[in-house]
């Protein structure tokens, strides 16, 4: 019929290329295979080998699953690469922002034993486990040099209030030394 192309022209292409992927062996004959943004699927070893060798064809199930997860692409077609790039840019957007959060661990000492806490707390020895004045000054210089317009200084420990004079010193120095136009929250 004039005006219509042959049905074969609409068949999915088999001229494929492999996209970057990672895989991990989870349990016997089970692999987790993921694309560059971490989206993935579970395959057995035979399916993984077929995927890597591009031994997949429209209608075999694996072709469709791999295509959907952006593990394979049509050669020369840029739209799938752009889709992956867009997702990667969203996923890694935090890398384009200068560091705004600066955490000052002013002491490792703590009087509590909270069961959820991951810190290797220390109960004694202020000399060894408290942040020194010199370290605080140097750390603040680094924080204020960050190219972010606003920075946040967070105090952690241990129990940070056990070294309250150091917190007071850092807050005062931050307010005094912050360059014009840079604000800080603490």
């Amino acid at each position: 019929m004039a005006g219509f192309r042959d049905a074969a022209a609409f068949a999915p292409t088999t001229d494929l290329q492999l996209l970057p992927l990672r895989f991990e062996h989870l349990r016997p004959d089970r692999y987790f295979v993921s694309n560059v943004v971490g989206e993935g699927l579970l395959l057995n070893r035979e399916q993984l080998n077929r995927l890597v060798c591009l031994d997949v064809f429209p209608g075999d199930g694996l072709y469709e699953r791999a295509f959907e997860k952006l593990l394979i692409a049509v050669k020369g077609q840029r739209s799938q690469l752009q889709l992956l790039a867009m997702r990667l840019r969203s996923r890694m957007a935090f890398l384009q922002q200068p560091t705004a959060l600066h955490i000052f661990v002013v002491t490792l000492r703590c009087e509590h034993s909270c069961p959820y806490c991951q810190v290797s707390r220390r109960s004694v020895d202020r000399e060894r486990f408290d942040m020194s004045e010199e370290t605080a000054k140097r750390s603040l210089r680094i924080a204020l040099a960050a190219p972010a317009s606003t920075i946040k200084i967070e105090f952690q420990g241990g129990e940070p209030l056990l070294n309250f004079p150091r917190i007071q010193q850092i807050v005062k120095a931050a307010q005094q030394d912050a360059p014009d136009g840079k604000s800080s929250n603490s």
């Binding site: 492999l18 970057p20 992927l21 895989f23 690469l81 752009q82």
Partner: protein, 104 residues
Amino acid sequence: VPDILVDFGSSQSIGALREAAYRLIGEASCLIDTVDSRHVCRLIPKTALAGEAAEQALRARFLDLVTDENLREKVAAETAGVRDVILALAFGALAREREDSGSG
């Protein structure tokens, strides 16, 4: 605990052997020596193995890990070019080109 020797020809990537050795670290330590163009892996089990079957199982596990690492190297090599294109589209010159042309 007897050591287990597994040797490979020179075509075997030593990088893949190192990665596999690292993944085996909970079960056995692995020393890799290159002698006369062959890589000899000496597996030292962390605990005593109960007989030859257990030795064979550890050897097979190591070979499976090496096989996986070889596949990872193959995939990385085959997709290096397209990975660069994706990164360029996401963050590099191609991303700037798209932004300049207002297409996103």
